[in-house]
Every structure is written in structure tokens, then in C-alpha cells.
Symmetry: C2
Subunit: 109 residues, 2 copies
């Protein structure tokens, strides 16, 4: 049984999910850009510079895998973004209630 067992996404709901992913991506991007600018500004040596490099590589790997909008991944993508604070359940109010409930449960895992 997968996370998506028995879950059907209407075209409208896929649109809602897609918009929510875009909104979360914008929020996370803006926050990351601000964070990186601050980090860069404080760097005073090469060790710290390579730490920034490692930090960027890790964030890139994380973000590259996180905004998956394929139907099979949507429940997981959305719940993770809620858990991390990039989305609020309120951002998903146009989804069916059962999906919102499942997303809430997944944020507890």
C-alpha cells in the first residue's frame, strides 16, 4: 500500500496542489537566498567558504527532490512542506477535506 492508495486527484485539485508547491518554493527560495547572502557576508576564511559550498550542495540536493509534482508524490510533497513550515494547511483549503486530513496526519510522522 502506498501513500496514494485509493486517492484520486481531480484536475482542479492537481491545480491547487501545483499552485501550493509553487507558493512553497517561492517562500523557501526567498528564505534561502536571504540566508545565503547573510552567511556570505559573514565569511572571513576559506574554511567557512567551503562550509558555504557544502551547505549549498546539501540544500540543492534537498530542494531538487522535494518539489515533486507527480500525482503519486503529491501527498508526500505537500505534507513535508507543511511540516517544514513552507505551507500552511490553510494554503490547501481548496483540496477535498479527506486529502487535507491525510496531509495533516502525514505531518505527524
Amino acid at each position: 500500500m502506498t501513500l496514494n492508495h485509493g486517492i484520486h486527484w481531480t484536475e482542479a485539485e492537481k491545480g491547487v496542489a501545483s499552485e501550493a508547491l509553487k507558493k512553497a518554493y517561492r517562500r523557501e527560495s526567498e528564505s534561502l537566498l536571504e540566508d545565503v547572502k547573510e552567511k556570505a557576508d559573514r565569511i572571513s576564511g576559506m574554511g567557512e567558504l567551503w562550509q558555504l559550498n557544502d551547505f549549498l550542495s546539501a540544500r540543492r540536493h534537498d530542494i531538487d527532490g522535494k518539489y515533486d509534482d507527480q500525482e503519486d508524490s503529491l501527498m508526500f510533497s505537500l505534507s513535508r512542506l507543511v511540516k517544514e513550515g513552507w505551507l500552511a494547511i490553510a494554503d490547501l483549503e481548496d483540496l477535498a477535506a479527506d486529502k487535507r486530513a491525510k496531509i495533516k496526519v502525514l505531518t505527524l510522522i
Copy 2:
């Protein structure tokens, strides 16, 4: 035949070479830190952020391999740093004349 064929480094010359490498490293580091801070300051999107990540990875790889102070690598390390502008021949004035001459020739390759 290697670059070091017939080249003998006295302890004093190894000290001169080591100091020159440190000087070049300081210069290159300061320049890179300044460059990265400027780049970070100008970034306005995630594509540019990942470009900075790639840039840092490439610079790190380059710098990690460049400051080799093993005796067999000194001629090559020093000539490369002269070629790149991080050292001047004048920084090596305490080396024997034949070594300075060879370093100059290597910068032409």
C-alpha cells in the same frame, strides 16, 4: 624525465617556496572571498544560487590541488601561481637563479 630532474632544493629554498605558497594562498583566498561576497550580493534567483554552488565547487577543487608543497611538485606549483598572477618572480628572489629561470620558462607553457 620529470620537471624536477636534477633539481635540488636546499632547506632554505624549501622555506622560501613554502612562504611563497602561503603568500599566494592568502592573495588568492582574499580575492576569492571578495568575489564570492559580490556574487552572493547580486544573486536574485535559484538558478544563480546553484551557479554560485558550482563556482565554489570548481574553485575548491582547483585550490585543493594547487598548493602542493611536496618537493617534487614545487616547480610546477610555483610556476602555475606565477602564471595565474598570485606570485611575482620578485616573490621568489631568494631562490637560486636557475630555479627562477626554470619557473619563468614553465610559465610560458
